[in-house]
Symmetry: C2
Subunit: 474 residues, 2 copies
């Protein structure tokens, strides 16, 4: 596969629009100390966890209420100036970069739980609350919010990127778990979408349109999400396999049998080695599945036995159980630290992370061909995956000062995405498009669908001020 356009993905298209001093004056007059133009604050708000760069926004408004967001958007609209909502800053594909200039609206102070409806298994929150803060706030209800991207992201950011994580195989993604929204539109109007009813056929599904729209159609100011009863029993296990293929086939068969597994993560032998070094563990340095089962005690036992039988067929061994919370925490901490373990394995490196998702029948093919490719490249890497959903991430560990390595890593990503698309998959399972995957989105869905997205954007944001330059070029 050739990837002649890989280099084009490296640099965002920057076309700075004018931010008149009169707007900054108006913001400072309206927001006082809630508005900052300090260089350090602006720079912090002009980047994300990805590797793309752009000049920072001209000012940052620290919104404390829906009215603050609406007023900031109205002022920006008056001057045709872009606004970019900022939650925890943990996005990965350049979502937060002010590629057309403008102002950042930081919603991290809007981090309250507005109402817990435990009987209905719903909670309404402000967008700046993080997933850990949310789970901490509801810990006495016997309920939990399952969606867990690697970072302690904000619920607003997770909604805006349609995020998921390790629990999605059982509990779905933000697509399935956001019920209702309060949103500030491009004109600064406050609207509501959805209700707390579990289902509805009432008109266009604006909630689902806004979830995943990356701040380009509106800024979420209240979010109602589903909660789940804490399972009566939880059991976690690891199992090593002779090959990635064997591990993946265990997963495929588990899913096809309808086993309601709660988590099933693949970690390749490189990653196990890095995790062992980082966390002082002695895990077998072989491809490994890390699994979790939720349910009644009998149900969990039955699920686990079924999966153990399947794993044995494929040569799985060294099943290790972790039924106490402490043991589980140890295992999942190792999984969550995989990224840091990998980055530490090559001092000074930066990880370029891929994020494809394929129909599960093609998962083994997609992974194995991609492993061959990256092994041949000589670039160090790690591989982790939410494989129950067919979603996985390679991390290419590159020297950030080595332009050749960066180009080769981008090329590997390009080839991986092309492969996933050719297998009926998607260019992004959970990170979003941002700037980095705009070309891939077009490859995936075709010009017709992207033109439909563009028409919607133009209709809802005629001045193109809501996080412009993301998802698709206008």
């Amino acid at each position: 596969m050739n990837a002649p356009t890989a280099a084009a993905h490296l640099l965002p298209a920057i076309h700075l629009r004018d931010v008149p001093p009169a707007l900054i004056d108006a913001l400072q007059s309206r927001f006082g100390t809630q508005c900052s133009t300090a260089q350090a604050v602006r720079e912090q708000h002009g980047r994300d966890e990805g590797s793309l760069q752009a000049p920072p926004p001209s000012a940052v408004v620290f919104a404390e209420s829906t009215q603050d967001v609406a007023d900031a958007v109205k002022l920006a609209s008056q001057y045709d100036v872009p606004v970019i909502a900022y939650g925890a800053g943990s996005s990965l594909e350049g979502h937060l970069l002010a590629v057309q200039g403008g102002i950042s609206i930081d919603v991290s102070r809007m981090n309250r739980v507005l109402s817990v409806n435990a009987e209905d298994l719903t909670v309404t929150v402000q967008p700046g609350i993080t997933r850990k803060q949310l789970n901490d706030a509801i810990k006495d209800t016997g309920l939990f919010f399952p969606i867990d991207p690697g970072a302690d992201a904000s619920i607003g950011g997770m909604s805006a990127t349609r995020a998921s994580g390790t629990n999605a195989v059982r509990y779905g993604t933000m697509r399935e778990n956001v019920l209702a929204l309060q949103v500030v539109t491009a004109s600064g109007e406050v609207i509501h979408t959805g209700t707390r009813a579990k289902k509805s056929s009432a008109g266009y599904d604006l909630t689902r349109l806004l979830v995943g729209s990356e701040g380009t159609l509106g800024i979420m100011t209240e979010i109602t999400v589903r909660l789940y009863p804490l399972p009566e029993a939880v059991s976690a296990a690891i199992c090593s396999f002779p090959s990635i293929e064997a591990a993946v086939h265990t997963v495929i068969q588990t899913i096809q049998l309808g086993v309601p597994i709660a988590r099933v993560e693949l970690i390749d032998h490189h990653t196990v080695r890095m995790v062992n070094a980082h966390s002082k563990l002695t895990l077998r340095e072989e491809p490994m599945l890390l699994m979790e089962f939720h349910g009644s005690p009998a149900g969990v036992k039955e699920q686990a036995e079924t999966v153990q039988d399947i794993a044995s067929e494929f040569g799985g061994q060294a099943f290790e159980w972790a039924s106490t919370p402490e043991e589980r925490t140890r295992l999942w901490t190792a999984r969550h630290n995989a990224y840091f373990a990998a980055v530490q394995s090559r001092p000074g490196c930066r990880a370029i992370s891929t994020d494809t998702c394929v129909p599960i029948s093609r998962l083994a093919d997609c992974l194995l061909e991609s492993v061959d490719e990256v092994e041949a490249s000589g670039i160090p890497y790690f591989l982790v995956g939410h494989v129950g959903d067919g979603n996985f991430h390679f991390g290419y560990l590159i020297d950030p000062d080595n332009a050749d390595e960066r180009t080769r890593a981008e090329q590997l990503n390009h080839q991986l995405v092309a492969r996933a698309l050719s297998m009926g998959g998607t260019c992004t399972g959970e990170h979003g498009v941002g700037i980095h995957k705009m070309g891939f989105l077009l490859d995936e869905t075709g010009a017709g669908a992207v033109n439909m997205m563009r028409a919607i954007k133009r209709a809802l944001d005629p001045k193109n001020i809501l996080n412009p330059g993301k998802i698709f070029a206008m």
Copy 2:
């Protein structure tokens, strides 16, 4: 509660647009015998199962391919003439009425299964296949498609109205189960949305925007939906309760405990009486829950025991089990025949069906207040509900020639919707808005959200030819 505008919901706003003879000529030239202008054919395509009426469309095109649909839309667009997609004709809220004139595009001949991907638990079909045809076609795969509105609706119609049914409490609605679409747009272009990957963060969720858009944003020509492994064990049971309240509290507690019940239907004592008479059964004439459990044999047993314990607390008795397919069929046939049993109970009557859905904590309040209201009205009625989701239907059995009864029934519906909305619910759980609920949608979501829908409609269908006059007034 007053309902001064109830009468306004009775009649659709009819503003017939010109259908030039040149368009009919062009359609007949392109489609030959696939295009009919026969009065009987037009009339059959100008109504649905609801009670609203309008003049029929000027012609019916029997599409046999995506190209047929695209060509018919292109011709209609050329003459600014409305097009209304027609599947099985089983919608309930006036969705199919040609209130602005135009032509009907019947897709019932497009009823093939295009590809079964059993390993991925997906299937791609044409829009005209009905849910029973689909399940019949895949019956050798060990998989099934769970969504089951009362009628044997087409998958296209079910997608267009975001339908659900008795299994939604466990398997979700069309919102959760449509993965990808091929769609003919207002200009006759063929676009694709989504992929077969289980999750994606790739741009705007056009699939979810189109699902539930009632043919107003595009005409679906291919639909990829999720399938599920047939459960290893299935068990069904009925249980009678001393009151609706007791039955509903059993459901609420079951859901709150996270029991993965597959179906839980409420049937009130009127309906039991009607079903007994219709199906020659001897069910206790008390409020009843009809339940089904899916899983492993041990899992099903455990779920059933849990629910039986909860039911006992609320005075549930006469638990009757049905573990054989024949017994289950008998029970579910009785449930599915409830509508016909009810209509037969008052010869010559017509049922006006409501369709609200509320957060489950408010279900008992909403049901009981509504029961009091309809009892006081003296209008015969039945009550069935997909109560695990908080969704239920009253059927008011009116004399269609009695304008007063019709007005009172509409008023009851109006009051019921107002009550559901005041409790955080929705005006339609699964039937859609059509013509009948346009005012309710505005009450539910507010002018801001409806204006956003309108802006999207205008952007994607600037000539307003796709099923115009539905969901909202333009």
